[in-house]
């Protein structure tokens, strides 16, 4: 008698979770997206510190949002933080491996990063 009761509860919990999880995900993505949009607006005005903060927030709210990581990488690159930029680009590509725009950004970044690393030092 107890087993069907437990099964029913588990089923109910799964149902509730199944119904609320997508909504929670959508909320997170929507909040992250508004941070990304604001970041783009301020970056276009040259306010890169503010843009970095917004995209860091977006990546924190929704760590699966590839665009946030891509934009964050661009911001780090603009500020000469090459290690952070590389990690962010790699994260963006891990989340969206077929995105040619992220790949293009990453290729251009690598070209500059190689130059910055120098050559045959002593």
């Amino acid at each position: 008698m107890n087993i069907p009761m437990i099964a029913r509860r588990v089923l109910l919990a799964a149902l509730v979770l199944g119904l609320t999880a997508p909504a929670a995900y959508a909320d997170r993505r929507s909040e992250a997206k508004s941070q990304v949009d604001f970041g783009i607006k301020v970056a276009q005005r040259g306010l890169w510190k503010e843009a970095t903060y917004r995209w860091e927030r977006a990546a924190e709210i929704d760590p699966t949002y590839a665009a946030a990581w891509n934009n964050l990488a661009v911001a780090y690159e603009q500020q000469g933080q090459f290690d952070e930029a590389r990690k962010a680009y790699e994260k963006a590509l891990e989340l969206d491996p077929d995105n040619l725009l992220i790949q293009q950004n990453y290729d251009l970044f690598k070209e500059i990063n190689d130059r910055a690393k120098g050559r045959d030092s002593r």
Binding site: K33, A67, N71, V74, L101, I102, N105, L108, S121, R122
Partner: protein
Amino acid sequence: MTARRAATAVSLGLALGLGACTSFYEIPITTPIQPKLDVSAFRRVLVAGFITGGSEDVDANLETVRLLRSQLRTKSDLTVIEADVLNLADKAAPASETVKTEPSDQQEADRRIRNQRDLEPFEHVFADVAFWKKLGEEYQEPLIVTGTVLFTPHSRSGMVERAQEVVDAFGRRRVVPVRTYMERKGFILNPKFIFIDGRTGTTLYSESFREEVLYSAQQNTPALSSYFELMDRLIPSFLSTLSAQKIRGTRVLLK
């Protein structure tokens, strides 16, 4: 009905197109590249002189010192010390050869140095800490730039691919790649820049480069022009050792 469907498809396509257009933004960025060497401890730089070899048509020691000083004067924050150009080849000549060589005869040294192997017996001078420290004291402990420059004539013959314009049977002009045998001559520039701490006499950093240029055998390009053409390619890398640079580019921001 079909027309309505077509209209719906067109507007959907337009909407998707517009959506796609607004989902990314191209943005100009300026990437700062930090210098390879921290020169914040120095306010002055002395381009002392170079051990040079190869072509006798160019005084590579004098020309390199003059070129680097003028570049540093305009593109770095360091004060460039104007001093006589050091004849390092004399200072560094192996003991057995100094007897044979007239003192201060740079051309004589250049005649002896034809390739990298010829340079090796002279290179011990860069590790002479006492010498560089003494020089540093004379000029109030600057950053010292020195090294070796090998500027050698070079020729090569073989098949090369070049573009040739052809007119086909219909009178249309086309450019096609054609392989032809060519004799070419030019120069190879092999500089090694060494940065020495004028306070201690020790080497802080060194960097080697290799650039070459080839012209058709009929072309008569003066050695000095080739020297400057090759140095022009290296100067940005040389400067990036001492001063920060900014590289402009564009990236794509995504929504």
